[in-house]
């Protein structure tokens, strides 16, 4: 056992931020602990003191980016009166996240890691159930209670369907598929939600505009 490293000014959040950026940029299998250490301005030993493995860093990075994304999204939807408007906002933000690091890249990494390393399944399920799907289910139940959405459907079922739909389309948007744009993704999701829940989605012009200025282009330029 190595002696406890001098932690100094380095803290866990900085390492997690560095892990997030590094894995996003280079890919999980191309990332070495030393790359994350360089980006965080610390040593590999310090990182391994906090996180026992690279897998753990992927898990923490994804948890961190998910928590931030959904905390912000929660604040935003709380300013909206109606469940339908909240659902529209969730879909719009998912199609065009303000931070490009919130696209599907790290999720695809996670899916593949879980496939190749089944012991990560518990981590995946915790993340999967705590983010997008949970928030959508809450909004649907609220809309059902308010009489805005069809009360006969199972909120969990519809949330799972929308979540799967968002993931499937999100992958294509992340790959910058010329036909499956962020705008088309929003429309396909809202059409499905409207059919299931029996409401007419109303989109605010300003959010539609911001959804079309997707950070996807900015990301492409960065690469």
């Amino acid at each position: 056992m190595s002696p406890r490293p001098k932690l100094g000014h380095i803290r866990r959040p900085q390492i997690i931020e560095a892990a997030l950026a590094t894995i996003y940029e280079r890919g999980f299998s191309e990332t070495r602990i030393i790359d994350i250490a360089d980006n965080a301005g610390t040593s590999a030993a310090t990182i391994l003191y906090y996180f026992e493995s690279k897998e753990k860093l992927l898990e923490e990075a994804l948890t961190h980016s998910d928590e931030q994304f959904y905390a912000k999204l929660r604040e935003e939807i709380e300013t909206l009166d109606r469940a339908s408007a909240q659902l529209v906002h969730i879909v719009e933000r998912s199609a065009a996240p303000p931070d490009p690091l919130d696209d599907w890249t790290l999720w695809i990494e996670m899916w593949l890691q879980v496939r190749h390393r089944p012991h990560l399944r518990g981590t995946y399920e915790r993340l999967e159930r705590s983010g997008q799907q949970l928030m959508i289910a809450e909004v649907i139940r609220r809309g059902q209670d308010d009489g805005e959405f069809n009360a006969d459907v199972d909120a969990e079922d519809v949330a799972t369907m929308l979540s799967a739909l968002i993931d499937g389309l999100g992958v294509q948007v992340t790959l910058q598929h010329p036909d499956v744009t962020a705008e088309r993704m929003v429309r396909l999701c809202l059409d499905a939600a409207a059919t299931e829940l029996g409401f007419v989605p109303e989109r605010r012009p300003e959010t539609r505009q911001s959804a079309s200025v997707a950070p996807i282009g900015a990301k492409a330029a960065k690469r």
Binding site: G27, S29, E30, T105, I108, E109, W111, L112, V114, R115, H116, P118, R121, Y124, E125, E128, R129, D157, T160, M161, S163, A164, L165, I166, D167, G168, L169, V171, Q172, T174, L175, Q176, H177, P178, D179, V180, R184, R187, L188, L190, D191, A192, A194, T195, E196, G198, F199, V200, P201, E202, R203, R223
Partner: protein, 219 residues
């Protein structure tokens, strides 16, 4: 034996070994030496055929897709099958329902990840996507023409169906305890059935078992 595997050339053996190993360990876990050993050829020959990991992945995926296609052709719908029944079969062929389709699925996911960082792979990913989309859109168009399905935009419905297949397929593939294969199959089938106005399930008898809900279109 499929036609492709029956040719038995070194190239095919390399590709078959690559599919197995990529599906098992991921593209980054693949060692050229192991593929060579598996295929009974020299590592130099593998390098000769496939200069980069990207080209190996693309060709292995194309090979795997062709094999899955062979399997699809064997699974011919019974004569007189409705378009809805054909679509139900197509859904099965797009989910990880067999070991071969499961391997194909892992490769498909590897392609996504690789294409994020290697844009030169995107046209290939788009081409595979376009084939799947045309396959579904053509069946939907035929069903509309036959009066079996309600009018809809076949490409839009195909896009939504493919996205659901991907979203549910991933969950099933990685063993999400909430999404066993049967749930994935049922969910995609129910959504497509509603899009086409044939009731709650594609296998439901008779067209338009209940009135189709009007699709709301955002202005």
């Amino acid at each position: 034996m499929t036609q492709a595997a029956g040719r038995n050339g070194a190239r095919e053996r390399i590709l078959a070994a690559a599919v197995r190993q990529i599906a098992g360990d991921g593209i980054d876990g693949v060692r050229i030496a192991r593929i060579a050993m598996d295929a009974g050829v020299s590592p130099a020959l593998v390098h000769y055929h496939f200069a980069t990991r990207e080209s190996l992945l693309a060709e292995a995926l194309d090979y795997s897709y062709a094999l899955a296609g062979d399997a699809r052709l064997k699974d011919i719908p019974p004569a007189g099958a409705t378009h809805a029944q054909r679509l139900a079969m197509m859904i099965d062929q797009c989910l990880p329902t067999t070991p071969a389709l499961t391997e194909d699925w892992v490769l498909w996911m590897e392609l996504w990840l690789r294409a994020v960082r290697h844009p030169e792979l995107r046209p290939f990913a788009e081409e595979l996507y376009a084939r799947m989309r045309a396959w579904f859109a053509d069946e939907i168009t035929a069903g509309i023409a036959a009066g079996e399905f309600a009018r809809c935009d076949p490409e839009e419905v195909a896009d939504r169906t493919l996205a659901l297949l991907d979203g549910f397929g991933v969950r099933t593939l990685i063993g999400d305890s909430a999404v066993p294969l049967e749930r994935a199959r049922r969910a995609v089938s129910a959504s497509l059935a509603r899009d086409l106005g044939v009731g709650e399930r594609l296998s439901d008898p008779g067209p338009t078992a209940r009135p189709q809900r009007t699709r709301a279109r955002p202005a």
